[in-house]
């Protein structure tokens, strides 16, 4: 029993610690790449070429004073960042980094991820409400409405992929892409899924919840020190999770580009990481280049464009699979 617990704790740590390090270097990559796009240097003082900058930022946030607003609902206020952080970590339990390289290989893996991402709204909405501040509340309401509406189209796109695979298991979804990655036959879905992932993680150009000019910083205005750090880490870990979900669903997870000699020498987690990096760079690139959407345009895009389009493509995929007798099983 004790051995079992120790083994499991070690397994979990071996996922969580690299994840947190990659989140830290994601923020550094964001600042460096945005600097390059805007012809600046980015952070380059601490460590060699600024490589220790995220650690210094973390230390700064850790050493700051935690301020609790006097009119806040304290229990909910303290609980909200913890919830966001925990939910962004537990999704990684089912992500396969290679064949069999995952903590739990459950049959309903993709539903589990979908459930976790739909629970993510609660951290935001409770933090906005419990802060007892108008900026935070407006940011939280915007964010919750946005996440709920884009989840619908994400659901349809996932069903589309699952129809082609015949299983909810993430490993089987990747293995089904051995002959062709799903980004080729389901190309429109791939684009829509990534745009919905941008909206789901409240990133540019859909960063309405933290529109600096109107709402200061959205739902997390009243948070300082570690509370803010937990939101920040949760947000970036969620971005990585959505990137890896896009990789698994459409870019063939850990599969090499071609299954021939020089490509399949590279170990599978490296392929997974390389594919994940494409989306990480895209996240940053979009942030540096695209202007923010207006709120009604955002809602129109979600409900009047993506929802009908994904529903229509789902019907199209299903009818193609049935009529050519391509249905799995």
């Amino acid at each position: 029993m004790l051995f079992f617990i120790i083994i499991n704790v070690l397994k979990i740590l071996s996922i969580v610690v690299p994840l947190l390090i990659s989140v830290a270097y994601f923020t550094l990559a964001e600042r460096k790449i945005m600097g390059a796009i805007q012809r600046r240097r980015g952070p380059n003082v601490i460590g060699w070429a600024g490589l220790l900058q995220p650690l210094a930022d973390g230390l700064k946030l850790f050493a700051k004073e935690t301020i609790l607003p006097s009119n806040a609902d304290l229990v909910v206020f303290v609980f909200a960042p913890m919830l966001t952080f925990i939910l962004s970590l537990i999704g990684w339990a089912v992500i396969p980094f290679g064949e069999g390289l995952l903590i739990s290989d459950i049959q309903v893996g993709i539903l589990y991820l979908f459930a976790i991402s739909s629970l993510g709204v609660y951290g935001i909405i409770t933090s906005g409400w419990s802060s007892n501040s108008k900026y935070a509340f407006l940011g939280a309401l915007r964010s919750a409405a946005q996440m709920v509406s884009y989840e619908v189209s994400i659901g349809f796109i996932i069903i589309c992929v699952v129809l082609c695979v015949g299983s909810f298991n993430l490993t089987e979804i990747v293995l089904a892409q051995k002959s062709i990655w799903f980004c080729v036959p389901l190309f429109p879905m791939f684009i829509m899924f990534f745009i919905s992932a941008l909206a789901e993680t409240n990133r540019h150009p859909f960063d309405l919840p933290e529109a600096e000019a109107e709402l200061v910083s959205g739902y997390n205005v009243e948070y300082s020190a570690m509370g803010f750090a937990l939101f920040f880490l949760g947000e970036y870990a969620n971005m990585l999770l959505m990137s890896s979900l896009t990789t698994i669903l459409f870019l063939g997870g850990w599969l090499p580009l071609f299954d021939i000699a020089p490509f399949n020498w590279i170990p599978s987690p490296v392929w997974f990481g390389l594919k994940l990096c494409i989306f990480v760079v895209l996240f940053i690139w979009f942030r540096a280049t695209l202007p923010r959407y207006r709120y009604d345009q955002l809602m129109t895009l979600g409900w009047k464009v993506f929802l009908p389009l994904s529903l229509g493509y789902l019907l199209f995929t299903a009818s193609m699979l049935v009529s050519f007798n391509w249905l799995p099983n």
């Binding site: 049959q107 309903v108 629970l119 309401l141």
Partner: protein
């Protein structure tokens, strides 16, 4: 043994949060406890190894319905009135309904769920293998799908129609077509070119 420990943990969580839902004075806290009840029920379903239903419970009830519920409650003007209602006022009718519900549930559970009690000392081979399910297993979802679309497809279609009627009703009740408000037609804006951008009008 650990299965029962978790069952009692989550069942206790459900009972406590259900009680808190109806007793706390702040409506938002009440909704949050209601969400805790949903999460606890999903966990109990997970312990019963119906993982598909449990995840669906989380996605639909917690991820969609309770969010909208919380949304509405947060927008309300909350008045923290210290209600000195007499809780015992509804005891007679509430107790009667609760008793009926308890009897019905007990009867159902007693007759259909639990296997008949067998004295284990009388059975020679106590742990036999069910080889058919070992060799040819269906996952949770496949079982559900086979049953739902083979035997209960009629009920499934009826449920779909009921939902459709509900959706149309909600749209009809809330849709107010406002002809005076300005709306943006993106296709019209994008199809604007030099030829149709400049034109002459007659000013009366």
């Amino acid at each position: 043994m650990s299965e029962f420990t978790f069952f009692y943990l989550f069942a206790g969580l459900i009972l406590i949060s259900a009680f808190m839902t109806i007793t706390v004075s702040n409506p938002v806290h009440s909704v949050l406890f209601l969400i805790l009840v949903f999460v606890g029920s999903a966990a109990v379903l997970l312990l019963m190894e119906v993982e598909f239903l449990s995840l669906m419970f989380i996605i639909i009830y917690v991820g969609a319905i309770a969010v909208l519920f919380l949304f509405v409650v947060m927008m309300l003007d909350i008045k923290l009135s210290s209600s000195n209602n007499n809780y015992l006022r509804y005891l007679s009718i509430g107790g009667f309904l609760g008793f009926l519900f308890f009897v019905e549930t007990y009867y159902l559970v007693e007759t259909s769920v639990f296997a008949p009690q067998v004295d284990s000392s009388l059975v020679l081979e106590s742990s036999y293998q069910d080889w058919i399910t070992r060799l040819d297993t269906l996952t949770n979802m496949e079982c559900l799908g086979q049953f739902l679309y083979t035997y209960y497809f009629f009920h499934f279609l009826i449920a779909g129609i009921v939902l459709l009627v509900g959706m149309i009703g909600a749209i009809v009740l809330t849709l107010h077509v406002n002809h005076t408000s300005k709306n943006q037609l993106i296709c019209k804006q994008l199809s604007r070119q030099v030829k149709n951008a400049t034109f002459l009008t007659t000013i009366s």
